[in-house]
Amino acid sequence: MGKTVRGSTIEGHLIEAGDVRFAYPGGEFELRVRELRIDAGDRVAVVGPSGAGKTTLIHLLAGLLTPSAGRIRVVGLELEGLTEEDRKDLRLLRLGLVFQELELLEYLDVLDNVLLPYRMSPVLELDGAVRARARALVEEVGLGDKLRRVPSRLSQGERQRVAVARSLVTQPAIVFGDEPTGNLDAENRDHVAEILFRYSGETGAPLVVVTHDRELTERFARTLDVRELA
């Protein structure tokens, strides 16, 4: 991919996990992942019943949760060896996250919400090219005429499309989605999915998406049932 995170370069699979165990404190549920490998260009639908650990898996791979055992390697970096702030760097610079509940900032308009990773990063430089890319992304998600609108004046589907644009503006090496189309109608769902697939296709970034939607699942080349990971 040619990118580095604090001096590390990507080697091997983009995502590798082995002998991972994770349990929430005080909970009976335990997620186990014996072996998981995801490579460039992979489009993976993570499926399973509610409570099976789909979201937990995505959070572990994105460094939002720390496993109690095992190793996870993302874009060539061992997550175990990273501090909390290093993991944040990883997410901000290399990962794109589209979660169902990821909120937009109400006091920023569409364009500024999309540019948020740049405005909040001491490393990423917000220049004319980035602004142009952000505008193009907003155009692409069909909100070109609503650049200066605040989220409260957008529909649920429009807000989710802004969140997708925000997750892609840094040109991430991997895109994670946790039911990114869960609250959307069919038209908006297809629109959001189309954007994600197009990005993955154009850049080779693997797409790892948790979904309950059968129609959407069928569009993924690979399906991963979390119950079978152990």
């Binding site: 610079l93 979660f99 909120e103 900032l105 920023l108 740049y118 001491p122 605040v150 925000r166």
Partner: protein, 393 residues
């Protein structure tokens, strides 16, 4: 840093109502003690300035503060008058200049100061238009009084009767305005100056009327005429305006030495004269008191400073309470923004960057409050004196 400022600005701007309330609250707790400090300083300066230029005051025994305030700031006199004899005695002693003040009456809310032309000289009051009062019934207006009343040279003003049941005979007297003074930025600007005798006429001690002896036999103003003596009836009314035609008929009944004055401004010739004058009235059973206005005002100012210090102490408590409340507001605000902060964490915003944005938001509010409070305090410093003069009337 530019992005941090930008994000903080956008947040404050979007939540402009909340931001304005916070800025307003902090501005108030900063401005009020500062303004109090400035205003008390200004008031102390104004008080001492006037007192400094008035060496001694003589008046009836009683509150030195009342005597000083009435004589220097023309407040309603609360002490009884002293006889004009005191003025004559001080002048006759050769120890200093004695300037009488008669302050009982007003014209359209402006104090009528019955005095002598020496008062204008003593205060350095210069005539901007017209001339000083010279004849009975003439008045000179302070600059602000002339402006407020809308009266100029050649026009007239009428004294306000002391009361509907004033049996002493305080008739409204129409006075001709013969001069307007230059502004002096002192209480003199607010006053109406007239000759002491004119104020005695207002008081009913002197009056003018038709010559009784020349009244026709059937004139209802004539009560009886016998053996070359004519007696006027109550129908004989005094003139309410002093004109060149009737000025000669004005006269005073009684001994002038007993006529009232409310205070005497005494300007001793030298320190020795001052000491002698003060010694003369120092005895406990003296019928009048002598006060040094500066000493009286210093006591007043000390009291003002004590009150100010007490208010500042209370303000300090209020500031601490407000700071605690604001801290709580900011903490609650952060809790309310938990979802937003969680989103930031998920997308990988560094903790320091997030803290910087939140800190700049708080700093922006505090800085805005400091700037506004500073500007307001400067304005109070600039216009505080004027404000105090207006408030003091």
């Amino acid at each position: 840093m530019r992005d941090v400022l930008y994000l903080a600005w956008r947040y404050l701007r979007y939540n402009r109502g909340k931001s304005a309330v916070l800025v307003g609250s902090i501005t108030l707790i900063l401005f009020l003690p500062a303004a109090l400090q400035v205003l008390v300083g200004e008031a102390a300066e104004l008080l001492t300035e006037r007192a400094d230029s008035t060496p001694l005051l003589v008046g009836a025994p009683g509150s030195p503060v009342d005597l000083t305030l009435a004589s220097l700031y023309f407040t309603e006199p609360s002490l009884p008058p002293v006889p004009y004899r005191e003025v004559e005695e001080i002048a006759g002693s050769g120890l200093g200049l004695a300037i009488p003040l008669h302050l009982r009456y007003s014209a359209s809310g402006r104090r009528i100061v019955g005095t002598t032309p020496e008062y204008l000289e003593f205060r350095g009051l210069r005539v901007a238009e017209g001339r000083r009062f010279a004849l009975l019934g003439e008045a000179v207006l302070g600059a602000e009084a002339a402006r407020a009343l809308g009266v100029g040279v050649g026009e007239s003003i009428v004294s306000t009767p002391a009361g509907a049941f004033d049996v002493a005979g305080s008739f409204p007297l129409r006075m001709r305005v013969v001069g307007v003074l230059e502004p002096s930025r002192t209480p003199d600007d607010e006053a109406v100056f007239t000759d002491l005798k004119t104020s005695w006429v207002i008081a009913g001690i002197g009056h003018g009327h038709e010559e009784v002896a020349e009244l026709e036999e059937d004139d209802e103003a004539l009560l009886l005429r016998e053996e070359g003596r004519a007696v006027a009836s109550p129908a004989l009314l005094p003139y309410t305006e002093i004109t060149p035609e009737n000025i000669a008929t004005f006269h005073f009944h009684g001994d002038q030495a007993e006529f009232p004055v409310d205070a005497v401004v005494v300007v001793p010739h030298d320190l020795r004269s001052e000491t002698m004058l003060r010694g003369r009235y120092a005895e406990g059973d003296a019928p009048v008191q002598i006060v040094v206005p500066r000493a009286v005002v210093d006591d007043l100012v000390d009291t003002m400073f004590s009150v100010r210090d007490a208010v500042l102490l209370v303000s300090l408590g209020l500031i601490l309470a407000t700071v605690a409340t604001l801290a709580l507001v900011f903490a609650l605000s952060v809790r309310l923004r938990r979802q937003e902060i969680e989103t930031m964490r998920k997308i990988g915003v560094p903790r320091g960057r997030l803290a910087a944005v939140l800190a700049v938001e708080v700093l922006g509010i505090v800085l805005a409050a400091i700037v506004i409070a500073g500007a307001l305090t400067l304005a109070v410093g600039r216009f505080g004196g004027e404000l105090l003069r207006i408030v003091a009337g």
